[in-house]
């Protein structure tokens, strides 16, 4: 199959995920809010600006991925649109990769990218002081959003129900966030440094931010979330290929 085939199926599915007005309202809100936060205070560090704009955006991105990525995927299965996709002369593995792209990676890139784009336009001279660090922060937030998105996507494939996958996704998001907060707390109170570091590493943006702020960060802490994303991605593709069946 040619790349053109994949691109056009990706285009169709991305159009579904990003259909109006959901994406438009969300991007407008996060972009306005994120950029407003950096204009009401004189942010002079591109790293700090990225963090201020992307921290609330990550929450919005997670919600978007739960609703459009996960529940949207379940709708695709329930409605039978996935059957139409599967009738195209495209293998299940490339289709799984396309679905992960359209349901997780591309929305994450767009939702997180919108406020940053405004930041670059609005605070060009500040942001261009260290574009590589902005990219580093963006990548960190992207990996974090992708981690949530892939978990949500798996729930959708497994449950095939919009409401169930939506509920499971939101619950998983809060459970993950709670664990990432509880582990360092337990670690500090018991003096278990490993526990503290694991908890901290579960939120990659903070790790990258700390490393830019010259705090000591271990390399495995940087690699934890990207590794989880890679493992989950492979798992979702294999699940779709070997276990997933249409209704």
């Amino acid at each position: 199959m040619s790349l053109r085939t994949y691109y056009n199926l990706l285009y169709i599915d991305v159009s579904d995920v990003l259909r109006p007005p959901g994406l438009d309202v969300l991007v407008l809100l996060v972009a306005s809010l994120g950029s407003a936060l950096v204009t009401i205070q004189p942010v002079t560090s591109p790293v700090v600006a990225s963090r201020i704009a992307l921290d609330p955006t990550l929450f919005a991105a997670a919600l978007f991925l739960a609703v459009r990525g996960s529940a949207g995927m379940a709708y695709l299965i329930q409605s039978g649109i996935i059957n139409t996709y599967l009738t195209y002369p495209i293998g299940k593995v490339p289709l799984a990769v396309l679905l992960a792209l359209s349901r997780v990676f591309i929305p994450s890139l767009l939702v997180l990218g919108a406020p940053l784009l405004i930041l670059f336009l609005l605070l060009g001279s500040v942001m261009l002081k260290a574009p590589e660090k902005v990219f580093g922060m963006y990548t960190a937030f992207f990996f974090q959003a992708s981690l949530y998105g892939l978990i949500f996507l798996f729930f959708a494939l497994r449950s095939r129900s919009q409401s169930t996958s939506g509920l499971l996704s939101v619950s998983a998001y809060f459970a993950y966030t709670a664990i990432a907060l509880i582990l360092p707390a337990i670690g500090r109170s018991t003096g278990n440094e490993t526990l503290t570091k694991v908890g901290e590493a579960m939120y990659l943006p903070e790790i990258i931010y700390s490393s830019y702020m010259r705090a000591s960060v271990e390399s495995w802490q940087i690699l934890l979330v990207p590794s989880l994303v890679t493992i989950l991605f492979i798992f979702v593709v294999i699940y779709f290929w070997r276990r997933f069946e249409v209704i």
């Binding site: 407008l28 972009a31 950029s35 407003a36 004189p42 002079t44 767009l110 405004i118 609005l122």
Partner: protein, 214 residues
């Protein structure tokens, strides 16, 4: 509205939305935008057993702090590297006996000023050296000491004042933001207009490529 958006491509929709977002944030910036300077004055009681600490932490900005210390016998300062939000944690690890912490956050200038009373002992300066290089100020005019240092979101300024007799130390801080600039309102309007025009061009091109097929 939704049906109009439905017929548009993702790229042109995002351009439109970002153009609106840009205008919104520019409007907010015009109304409640950042300040480029901040001032703070605080008087702290000090004595042979109580020293005073002043922390100038630029939480989001960077700039230059001019600190005037009146009434202190000895003044030292430390540039502490790292995230200002972690400063409190670092400070706690010194296990100093702290009392009377007063903070003033000037969000619109992106800076916080914190005055602290701390138990004075011969090891205080030594303990503070764990946070960074402690620099004593020897120049003093009429019991007034002046320190001018840069602060940023990855380095804060900590000033220690001690007095051999009971009395007060007065801090006067003038903070000016450096390295900040943003688009002006007319510039924002022009950029937004360009983005809208770009969205229109994308839609026009799409119509040209898809329509001949049918």
């Amino acid at each position: 509205m939704s049906s109009v958006l439905r017929r548009m491509s993702v790229a042109s929709r995002l351009l439109l939305v970002i153009a609106i977002g840009l205008l919104v944030s520019s409007a907010i910036a015009e109304l409640y935008g950042a300040k480029l300077s901040s001032e703070y004055t605080r008087t702290v009681k000090v004595g042979p057993r109580v020293a005073s600490l002043l922390v100038v932490a630029a939480i989001t900005s960077s700039g230059r702090a001019e600190v005037t210390v009146e009434g202190a016998d000895s003044v030292y300062y430390v540039k502490v590297a790292g995230d200002p939000f972690l400063l409190a944690q670092q400070f706690r690890s010194l296990r100093l006996n702290v009392s009377n912490v007063r903070s003033n956050v000037d969000l619109r200038a992106g800076v916080t000023f914190t005055a602290i009373q701390v138990e004075s002992n011969p090891f205080l300066v030594q303990a503070l050296s764990l946070l960074g290089n402690v620099i004593p100020i020897s120049e003093k005019k009429e019991n007034v000491t002046r320190i001018t240092e840069s602060v940023a979101s990855d380095s804060s300024l900590l000033i220690v004042s001690t007095k051999d007799s009971e009395g007060e130390v007065r801090y006067i801080i003038k903070y000016s933001v450096e390295g900040y600039s943003r688009l002006t309102a007319p510039e924002t309007f022009i950029v937004s207009a360009i983005m809208v025009a770009l969205a229109g061009a994308i839609e026009y091109y799409r119509r040209l490529t898809v329509k001949p097929f049918l």
